[in-house]
């Protein structure tokens, strides 16, 4: 029968081991978002306050979209993974806009202004090039990016009709692939809710 002090020491060592391993596992997961990785049921969506918009006459607010399903796409036109995903978003927009989906592009530059990503004309040209019809906000100060705790391009946040974040994820996907089907199914799920 081990002495109590020995049991205590063993427990302490085991606890340290578990803590060390789990801390590393969490960090590694956060560092490597895999294709289609998502968080589910995150909470109320925060309101964005971007002032510079494209493909819309006036700023689009979260409050004005209550009753619609909203898909935020954090992207930048210099990101290859982002532009590769755009055809899927254009497709989802054409399929579900009339049924209550609003896709909003949050254009967040990666680089300082000298790289040209902040320039509204450049963003407008990218929207035209990729046939993007849905509203896009310029997020040049990364305020909305930070508000949503985004870390990677492209990222996605799916908000339900009551303004709650229901799904989040990051990573390129393509028309018809498994991740596209996943997002398509989630959109249909939220559209079917009252």
């Amino acid at each position: 029968m081990p002495r109590p002090s020995l049991l205590f020491t063993l427990s302490l060592v085991l606890a340290v081991a578990v803590a060390a391993v789990s801390q590393h596992a969490g960090g590694a997961l956060a560092q490597t978002p895999l294709l289609g990785q998502t968080r589910i049921g995150v909470g109320p969506a925060p309101s964005w306050h971007n002032t510079s918009w494209l493909n819309t006459d006036q700023p689009v607010t979260l409050e004005s979209l209550r009753g619609r399903v909203v898909l935020l796409n954090f992207w930048v036109f210099t990101c290859y993974n982002c532009t590769n995903t755009v055809p899927s978003l254009v497709d989802l927009d054409s399929k579900y806009r009339e049924r209550g989906l609003t896709i909003i592009g949050i254009h967040t530059p990666e680089f300082p202004p000298y790289a040209g990503e902040h320039d509204k004309g450049n963003v407008a040209r990218a929207l035209e090039k990729y046939h993007i019809k849905y509203p896009n906000a310029q997020d040049n100060d990364s305020r909305t990016w930070d508000l949503y705790g985004i870390r990677f391009w492209p990222s996605f946040v799916l908000i339900d009709k009551k303004g709650r974040i229901r799904y989040e994820g990051a990573g390129e996907f393509h028309l018809g692939d498994a991740t596209y089907q996943l997002w398509d199914g989630r959109i249909q799920e939220l559209l079917s809710e009252q």
């Binding site: 020995l6 020491t9 063993l10 060592v13 340290v16 081991a17 060390a20 391993v21 801390q23 590393h24 960090g27 590694a28 560092q31 490597t32 978002p33 895999l34 294709l35 210099t78 990101c79 290859y80 993974n81 982002c82 990666e110 680089f111 300082p112 000298y114 790289a115 990503e117 870390r151 990677f152 391009w153 492209p154 990222s155 990051a170 990573g171 390129e172 996907f173």
Partner: protein
Amino acid sequence: MKTVLLGLALVIVAVSRTAQAQTNAQPLAVRAEPTDSATRLVLVAAPGWKINARVKPALELPSGAIVRFDAPQLTADSAYFAEPPTARILGRVATVRGMLKASVCAVGEQVCRVVTLKL
């Protein structure tokens, strides 16, 4: 028994530090190659990382000047550098100081992220 416990604790600390070091490993490094009257900077990606060529890496020098890296060889989709991009600064230096920014993508992750390195 105490020796066993001490050994176990040391192993745990070593494993944890190794894991932390791997997590914090930088995907980029800058190599300075002095030439006659200038320095050629070579931006090298660690294995498993690609450098986004659509937004050229930048080195913000302490003077405020910005040096952009570039390379003629890109991948077939013109999205990434197919060879280490280079930049040139005046003067011969063995080490360079400044803030390096680059957009990088890890193979298989399908996302981009910005790396900022203080040199």
